[in-house]
């Protein structure tokens, strides 16, 4: 075998080993979210009442909901007032029945939408199907 080709093969192998070792021992690992929040979802007509605890680094509730999309199955709708929740856990609020999802933070009504609602460590976010 050509001497140079041999050295190139050795060099590439060394690089692969070095990259493997790096990934094993030095690479920064995935870090768990720094904030822990509770999310309660209540859809009474469907008998759904679930409580989740999530660890996240998301800044706003919308980002958190998208992070856990496969778990809580959220649906949203854009409007001139911003984005709002139309569905959770597979149930879509029926506008003809005046249904909507209310948002409470530690028991108090949220005054902003999910895109503006900050995720704060230790807080409980409750989404409940309500009627107006």
């Amino acid at each position: 075998m050509n001497k140079k080709v041999m050295w190139i093969v050795i060099a590439v192998l060394c690089a692969l080993v070095a990259l493997f070792m790096y990934n094993q021992y030095l690479a920064p690992g995935g870090q768990e979210g720094s904030k822990t929040v509770t999310m309660e979802i209540v859809v009474a007509p469907e008998g759904i009442e679930k409580t989740y605890e999530f660890k996240t680094d998301a800044d706003f509730v919308y980002a958190l909901m998208m992070e856990v999309e496969s778990t809580i199955k959220p649906e949203f709708q854009e409007s001139s007032f911003g984005i709002y929740i139309t569905g959770l856990e597979g149930y879509t609020a029926d506008e003809t029945k005046n249904e909507f999802y209310s948002i409470k933070v530690n028991g108090e009504d949220a005054v902003v939408g999910v895109k503006e609602l900050p995720v704060e460590d230790g807080k409980t976010y409750r989404f409940e199907l309500s009627t107006w």
Binding site: K4, W7, I8, A11, V12, A15, A27, P28
Partner: protein, 169 residues
């Protein structure tokens, strides 16, 4: 310095910039290290240093100021001086391949020193560790590039330049 030398330095620095731009889409695979070594061997440390100075200044004009500038103004002249010292002993492509490889491996570490000065030691360490995979790619690609291109380029440039009556080592 003669007009001929000034022109040569301009062409060398333009080649460095062009070489950098051509491969800039591929992270940490570059031919600047190889060209610096080749230019030092062919034209001597003085002209190579001037070309490196123009090259780095061009980089600043193109990409703006940053902490990396200080590193660039030091790292390339050091490579040229090392090459200048080594070439007095040997002109083996293997020796220069190893030099280029070491340079690539230590590239991130070297810049981490500057980052440490500006942002603190812990930031410098994090900067270095997170860039190690790129340093590995840099070192190995430098090794291969120099090993493959060193002899053909030096040989053909010596031939061409002798026809143009340009002095080489």
């Amino acid at each position: 310095m003669k007009a001929r030398d000034i022109t040569l330095v301009a062409i060398l620095s333009a080649s460095l910039t062009a070489g950098k731009i051509v491969l800039m889409a591929i992270p940490n695979i570059e031919i600047v290290t190889f060209l610096m070594i080749a230019f030092t061997i062919l034209f001597g440390a003085r002209k190579a240093l001037l070309a490196a100075l123009v090259f780095v200044t061009t980089e600043v004009l193109m990409y703006g100021f940053g902490t990396w500038i200080l590193g660039y103004y030091i790292i390339w002249p050091v490579l040229i001086l090392l090459t200048h010292t080594i070439v007095k002993q040997t002109e083996s492509e293997y020796v220069f391949s190893v030099l280029a490889a070491i340079y690539g491996f230590l590239f991130g570490f070297f810049f981490a020193i500057f980052e440490s000065i500006f942002y603190g030691v812990s930031y410098g360490i994090a900067y270095w560790i997170s860039g190690i995979p790129f340093d590995i790619v840099h070192g190995i690609s430098n090794f291969i590039i120099v090993l493959v291109l060193f002899k053909p380029l030096i040989h053909s440039l010596r031939l061409i330049l002798s026809k143009w009556h340009v002095e080489t080592r």
